[in-house]
């Protein structure tokens, strides 16, 4: 079935969506081989496949699929293949002279792709073809054999797992909301997109057949009012998601995620963990700035009663300029004889509340003293010495 669909796409994938007269690039002779499904689809994928985006084309491809089955031999006469029957709604486009594609279209001869490969210090085991595939967003090419959707799925599972385990092991008492915020700050779409920009990935203006293989290829969202979450509605089917195009941020994030999957597949578990440490965990995040307490003093009281500490008492440590325009008060929160938090502010109330906030942050940002081992340590060596993580009872509920 896939072979048929591929062959059908081969014929009409070059139908431009908006400019039917500007049919520039017929099928060409550049070999594009998917690297993970190659065993099953080698015969079909020797066909050169420039990009196609049209849903209409996809539908027509499925309807007219049986016709070109015979033409999907390993070496199809691309320029002279007979035209399959067209649906009555769309007349056959005018034939133009075959044009050769620029050499940068091929992953092996694209200078940008080689430069990106070198810039990321990827291992030679990581082929440039995978990097080229990671650069093709499903909105540019809906065929799952050629776009990065499967890589994105794998990569997002990997990086979310690594980020979560690192956060949970480093800050075992983190409240759920703060944990979510920290996760999205490390591996959210915005962070990944900024990482992709730092990697120096450039975007193609339009996902056309002749763009450089080292450019990020996706269908741009047309200008207009801002849409929430790239126009994706939860009731929409997955296939309809990219019909209007996607923002550049989402496409860049999908490339970065796919690169992680590529490192995992070609280089292994250890290298992908190192790649994650170097590119994600090396970014600085002020976790203490993610907190926002609504009733800090009350929460601190509940915490102390839950943990069996003495009730917190705010004590006035020092002050300056009480009668001036800019006074500063320093207040400490004490539980018994021990100070558990200190805060300063322009009024006694502000200082008291900030002290309670700092005490709560001191509780939630506890980190085990010798860093505990991440569960993924045993991925490559099941017998490695392992120091389990601290599991906390949970956040305080007021």
């Amino acid at each position: 079935m896939k072979r048929m669909r591929c062959a059908g796409l081969l014929r009409d994938q070059l139908l431009p969506i908006r400019h039917p007269s500007a049919r520039m690039f017929p099928p060409h002779h550049i070999r594009r081989t998917p690297h993970f499904t190659a065993t099953t689809t080698t015969t079909t994928t020797t066909n050169p496949r420039p990009l196609s985006t049209s849903t209409r084309n996809r539908n027509s491809a499925t309807t007219t699929a049986p016709a070109p089955v015979e033409t999907s031999n390993p070496n199809p006469p691309a320029t002279t293949s007979p035209e399959p029957p067209q649906p009555s709604s769309s007349p056959p486009p005018p034939q133009t002279a075959p044009t050769t594609l620029p050499p940068c279209r091929s992953p092996t001869t694209s200078a940008k792709l080689a430069a990106l490969h070198a810039r990321l210090s990827l291992h030679p085991k990581f082929p440039v073809q995978t990097l080229a595939r990671a650069l093709i967003h499903p909105s540019a090419d809906p065929n799952p054999l050629f776009n990065n959707r499967s890589l994105t799925t794998l990569g997002s599972a990997l990086i979310n797992y690594y980020a979560t385990e690192w956060l949970l092991c480093t800050y075992p008492r983190l409240p759920a909301e703060v944990l979510r915020a920290a996760l999205s700050a490390y591996v959210g779409a915005k962070a990944l997109a900024s990482m992709g920009r730092e990697w120096g990935v450039e975007s193609a203006f339009e996902p056309r057949a002749d763009v450089d293989a080292g450019l990020l290829q996706f269908k741009r969202l047309p200008p207009g009012p801002e849409v929430e979450a790239s126009g994706y509605k939860w009731w929409q089917e997955k296939g309809e998601r990219w019909t209007n195009g996607v923002p550049e941020e989402e496409a860049t994030a999908s490339f970065v995620t796919s690169t992680f999957a590529g490192v995992y597949l070609h280089e292994g578990v250890g290298p992908v963990k190192q790649f994650f440490r170097q590119h994600v965990l090396s970014r600085k995040l002020d976790i203490d700035k993610l907190f926002n307490f609504v009733q800090p003093t009350r929460e601190l009281s509940s915490l102390c009663s839950r943990e069996g500490f003495e009730p917190p008492i705010a004590r006035h440590i020092s002050e300056t300029g009480r009668r001036s325009i800019a006074p500063v008060f320093v207040v400490g929160v004490y539980s018994g004889l021990e100070k558990i938090g200190e805060g300063h502010g322009g009024s006694m109330n502000e200082a008291r509340i900030r002290a309670a906030v700092n005490a709560l942050k001191g509780w939630y940002l506890y980190s085990p003293a010798p860093q505990v081992d991440l569960p993924s340590k045993t991925d490559d060596d099941p017998h490695a010495p392992f120091r389990p993580a601290v599991i906390d009872v949970g956040e305080v509920i007021v």
Partner: protein, 203 residues
Amino acid sequence: MFNPATFLRRGLPEIRSTTSKSLAFIRHESNTRRHTKRLRLPPHPDFKTHLTTDSPSLTQILHNPPAAAPSVFVTPTLFLPKDDPRRALQTAASPINGTPEELTLPPPVTEIKEKKYHLTPTDFSRMRSLRKSDPGLWTRRKLAEEFGTSSLFVGMVAEADDERRKKMWAKAEMVKKQWGPRRRNARIDRAKRREGWGGADGY
């Protein structure tokens, strides 16, 4: 004979037209010396540069961080688990080590109230029935005085019914309508600042 210094002294006041008095650059006192002398302070006793018998020469690393607010990433000793190795270190370094009876804690910000726990379930039901009978008369404050507790606690035990709550809400809204723009904006700003104290202002 031409003296350039004299020429300069006479010429300058005319150039500096902004000054009313005629000024000349004659230095009666050394400003630099006065100011540097004022800055020449002995180091603070906490500053660990003075040579002692233990460390006659400075071969160790000196760490004298400037005064700053404590970091939230340093977990207080009380919040550390029992088996944490930092617990012993922090206890040894803390000022309350050894002599807790000599330690004087700073004064409390508000008066410390001991909780009395003197109310019984019958008091609670009586409080609720009083509140229900005439919420206008048996307000939270009055009930608090009657039962010797706080108005916050009365609010927790005997909540007002919806009718009373709506009435009081409408009353407050009426009062707020009377406010002019200055008072209204000041209240809005105050509420915003207060929200930021919980950590939202990132400071």
